[in-house]
Amino acid sequence: MNFFKSVIRMSMLAAACCLLFPLRAYAYIDPGTGSYIFQIIIAAFVALSFAVKVYWLKIKKFLGRLFAKKEK
């Protein structure tokens, strides 16, 4: 569960960062300020569902254990 807490924390931090700080990208193509900032916000959102997808097995195991304990 610590992992999910940290993902949420990181996501919120990332979102906060991008609202607080303007950015600079060192790239030969223009990443576009709006695109650059936006991807950080959207990545924070999709990171949550991605984490669920990647760690689905772990979640299932965790929930399984949780319910097993309750039954006891």
Partner: protein
């Protein structure tokens, strides 16, 4: 790609290097500024892996004496792409496959500590029936925590046109020809149907993204914050991959995609035509073929099945989509289906109109198939026969042409709603107009029909 000399006009934006021709060979100069990235691409094993999986063009390192200037670090010779095509000439599934290739490579690059620094659709070409990244210098070391600098470009080059094709009209792929750096997201957002706002992937990567671009358009940038974790970047790539995978388009209902269901050909005539075209190809033994007005590529396959690199061009996106799906399913290596209108061929676009070649610049070709095409050019498009002959004579050495007379029901259909202002549209008229440009080498009536198949040799291209 036709050998030439000097710098390749479309290869100047990236300071990492450029392409040039030297004595009929294509080389890429890798500049010193790109040294650490190139070395990592090779040393990390990323190049080897992408090569092994057929995702990145292969190259060999050459003598540095070939360098065009002192900025050179390496000179490499990339494998040649048989025919350069552009995203506005691709059908829906071709663009989708190219998009998925780009994302797949970016994910693989991250595993090796690298990242794609651009996501241009022009960096992808179709070789042996599959998409292939052709820009070896697209990779850079991935600084931990940095967002994807090519995110905007990916959305403009791939996601926006794909969404427009899938959700609005497949012909909107032509917008890529108007906007050389991809479809502006505010334009895509305004053109997409309202229902796309209820799809999270399009709401976020197109609609909100466009709004964000507008909001920050004139904001200054100062800080060096790098607030995006590798995990978040992978999540973003995964989200883009889902967005692309969820877009579908079915080639249905177009006049041409069902052409062979409605054609007036008898089985016998079709068989004779196949035999005549196949015989002609055997005799001519071309190195390359363009089939113009190819529909779903039935006759293109007579050439490609003989191992001849064949471009199968048609105006109808549904027919080209069917053609490409068959190529992919059967793992056909020599056929390249493309969307194109021969009466308005792809122009040269970009800087000085030279960054992306016109269709005609990508010729000439050994043999052109123009089967059941001339009546559309002459009657539907009012093109004089002499102009058609002149055009083909400059574009090919040999022409295999099927002429359909006025008495044929297909031509009658074209004339049904208009005045017949084509008194010279008959076989004798065609031969008279073509003779200044072509030597007619074979003239065969297609048994079971009123059609005639000609094999002609260009007097312009053969020096005759």
């Amino acid at each position: 790609m036709k050998p030439a000399e000097g710098l390749v006009p479309g290869s100047f934006r990236d300071p990492s290097g450029f392409l040039f021709w030297n004595q009929g060979q294509l080389y890429r100069q890798v500049n010193g500024a790109y040294q650490e990235h190139y070395d990592q691409l090779i040393a990390s094993g990323l190049y080897r892996e992408l090569q092994a999986e057929g995702l990145l063009v292969g190259h060999e390192e050459c003598d540095l004496k070939l360098a065009r200037d002192r900025a050179a670090y390496k000179i490499i010779r990339p494998a040649l792409v048989p025919f350069i095509s552009y995203p506005y000439e691709w059908c829906f599934s071709q663009l989708k496959d190219a998009a998925l290739l780009t994302l797949g490579i970016q994910k693989k690059a991250l595993e090796y500590g690298m990242s794609l620094k651009d996501a241009s659709a022009y960096n992808v070409q179709f070789v042996h029936g599959r998409p292939l990244l052709i820009d070896t210098l697209s990779f850079e070391k991935y600084p931990e925590g940095r967002p994807w600098v090519a995110y905007r470009q990916f959305c403009q080059h791939f996601l926006a046109p794909l969404a427009l094709m899938a959700c609005r009209d497949v012909r909107l792929n032509q917008l890529s020809c108007l906007y050389v750096d991809g479809v502006p997201l505010d334009l895509a957002s305004s053109l997409l149907p309202a229902r796309t706002r209820f799809k999270f992937s399009l709401l976020s990567h197109i609609h909100l993204h466009a709004r964000s671009q507008k909001r920050y358009a004139d904001k200054p940038v100062r800080s060096k914050q790098r607030p995006m974790s590798r995990f978040a970047l992978l999540a973003l790539l995964n989200s883009l991959e889902n967005a692309v995978n969820k877009l579908h388009w079915q080639p249905r209902g177009s006049e041409w995609a069902e052409y062979y269901d409605h054609t007036n050909y008898s089985d016998q005539a079709l068989e004779v035509k196949v035999k005549l075209v196949a015989d002609s190809l055997e005799r001519l033994r071309p190195r390359d073929v363009w089939d113009i007005g190819a529909n779903t590529g039935v006759f293109s396959r007579l050439a490609s099945a003989r191992g001849i690199p064949t471009v199968s061009l048609d105006i109808d996106a549904a027919a080209v989509e069917k053609n490409y799906r068959q190529c992919r399913r059967d793992n056909e290596k020599c056929l390249l289906p493309l969307v194109g209108d021969v009466t308005n061929p792809s122009p040269g676009i970009g800087w000085e109109n030279r960054e992306r070649m016109s269709l005609l610049q990508r010729g000439p070709v050994d043999t052109i198939l123009a089967l059941a095409l001339v009546h559309h050019l002459a009657i539907s498009n009012n093109l004089p026969l002499g102009k058609i002959a002149d055009f083909f004579s400059r574009l090919c050495r040999d022409l295999i042409l099927e002429f359909i007379p006025k008495s044929d029901s297909q031509v009658q259909r074209l004339l049904a709603t208009r005045d017949d202002i084509f008194p010279d549209y008959h076989a004798a008229g065609l031969e008279k107009e073509f003779l200044p440009y072509f030597a007619i080498e074979r003239r065969e009536a297609i048994a079971g029909s009123e059609r005639i198949l000609y094999v002609m040799r260009s007097k312009v291209r053969s020096g005759g």
